[in-house]
Symmetry: C2
Subunit: 353 residues, 2 copies
């Protein structure tokens, strides 16, 4: 079973990469006809997309498509691959909001253009502004490009329109999630729930959109589509809650990223919300001595972790994940051929990185 | 004739406004279900779209649609109106690049959010960053929303896909135009031509896309589509060249905006390119004493204007407009029912504001 999946996954990776390569080569060539500078932007975008590589969302579409009996992988590849464009476009804009210049361990578009413009724009502030402008435009190309790549699928036009509308809902939701996640840094505490952010910023376009599109492409019935939506929402939120736990309690040697960052930033996750619901006044006072402080010590980080355990917040988050897992399992009842979808629950909720 | 057009235009305005109103009301309501803060973003977007009001691009689509015999205005309204979403989305991102906070004489999204966040984010730099982030997301919603609104048209799905692809080309081109226009501030002189910027930043999505979409919706033949494309490109570039002339020689009492701005900014328009091609060394030296200087005096502005006339640059730009006008007229040969399209040439090239 495990082997079968790996083999399949590898095949999909090559096929998806080929669709994306063709898309980027064609657009870079068209861009070059306008200006070498526009060609350069497309080259940068292709570089970033290839640096990512996992193509999880396109693969989820193909997995759901096959689970519901779809067999013409070739025809639906552009629709699956399009979601990688959306994903990277959103990451580019998300990085601008977070003022990050690294993504996938390499320069993102902003970072790449800061270097590219180094010899052209002397003043650092100006150079940053122009690099951010180029990155914003790159994101625009990918967000709109996702919808365009879907049009290239050789299936019935009416079905293309149907999946485009699902994509549109995903975009509408993720941008809402992005906005409220950004505003949660300064809006009144308690007015933006971490679960809502998880539902709209993560579950939406990363789980619901790809799985639902796969099901619809295979002709899944309305009740089955409703099951997929419910399943994907539960798995997507559980994925985010697990992410929050890993961000605080993860093993850096395994995750490859800092497990101090979320604590130092004072990120208002579900875990932290549970802490504030369950902790006593003394615990709250202790947490606030360390949480969200840029100069936090290793001892402070350890203290925060212990408080999150002692207050029951960690366990409540684990319980919420279990509940969502059960909800996802229930949603699959009545469906056949659910092996891969069940495996997705495990992958999303029982991972350590 | 003039009266007939005015009447028709008024009708279209009401019908288009109604489609857009319905779109914004529906999305604001859905956004409110996610968070009042997301609802607020949609309210801001609707406010800005309504402040614009002219809806020239949607009207061009309807004009071309009727010119080629289309009669079911109701069905194509979403496709026409969608182009207003694209337009405002592009303006929002363009304003971020230009660091402008005013559009249509009112706060744009960035400007609106700077005020909205005033009591929430104390530090000005941070507040600006968050306002710009919200504006970027607003632009994302409109750029992707344009493609979504087109899907709501009740025409054959295959034709929706056809016009979506035309829209996609327009987006691809205008973003290229935006990038090179931005980079022309610091790229090596002569490597970005003003005519290329005019073709891709202006003619593309403001003339070619709306007119071609209208023609295709009415079922225009391939050769007729080619005529429309050629016509729209010529009119669009001529429109921009006229804009450049008005920006320098216009009557402020008529245009309602400064005719010093372009000279003070040192904007590298077609007019300025012609100056550098035709002026002698002394004229160039004289121009550079004033052109692009933030502290330019009224006498300096007048001197620049005189140099642009004496060097023949103004006349060459007028000649280029006449050539484009002739090209547009030629493109219309072989078409019937061209009265409104011919009028569009005049409106684009013989205006004084």
């Amino acid at each position: 079973m495990q082997n079968e999946i790996s083999t399949t996954t590898t095949d999909f990776t090559a096929a998806l990469t080929s669709v994306l390569d063709e898309y980027f080569n064609r657009h870079a060539a068209r861009a070059l006809e306008i200006s070498p500078y526009y060609g350069a932007l497309w080259t940068e975008i292709a570089r970033l997309v290839h640096a990512g590589g996992k193509k999880l969302r396109p693969k989820m579409t193909l997995m759901a498509y096959r689970a519901f009996g779809g067999s013409d992988i070739e025809k639906v590849l552009p629709i699956a691959a399009a979601q990688e464009l959306l994903h990277v476009g959103l990451l580019i804009h998300d990085d601008l909001i977070d003022r990050d210049t690294i993504r996938y361990g390499v320069d993102n578009i902003d970072g790449g253009y800061r270097k590219l413009y180094e010899s052209l724009v002397g003043e650092t502030g100006e150079r940053t502004h122009y690099a951010q402008s180029a990155a914003m435009l790159a994101g625009d190309l990918l967000l709109t490009g996702a919808q365009q790549l879907m049009l290239e699928s050789d299936i019935e036009p009416a079905r293309i329109i149907e999946v485009q509308k699902i994509l549109g809902t995903g975009i509408f939701e993720v941008i809402g999630g992005e906005l409220i996640d950004t505003e949660s840094a300064f809006r009144e505490a308690g007015t933006i729930s971490a679960e809502t952010v998880a539902r709209y910023k993560t579950a939406s376009y990363s789980f619901i959109t790809p799985l639902l599109i796969g099901a619809v492409l295979a002709g899944a019935s309305e009740p089955d589509q409703a099951r997929v939506r419910e399943f994907a929402e539960a798995v997507g939120v559980a994925f985010q809650l697990r992410d929050d736990l890993i961000g605080v309690f993860g093993n850096e040697a395994v995750t490859g990223k800092s497990t101090v960052g979320d604590i130092r930033e004072g990120k208002r996750t579900y875990l932290i919300e549970q802490f504030y619901l369950g902790a006593n006044e003394q615990q709250k006072a202790e947490l606030e001595q360390h949480f969200g402080k840029s100069d936090i010590t290793p001892e402070g980080v350890e203290k925060v972790r212990q408080l999150l355990i002692d207050s029951g917040a960690q366990q409540k988050t684990e319980d919420a994940i279990s509940d969502l897992e059960a909800k996802a399992q229930t949603a699959l009842e009545g469906l056949t051929n659910t092996a891969q979808l069940k495996e997705l629950i495990t992958l999303a909720t029982h991972r350590s990185k």
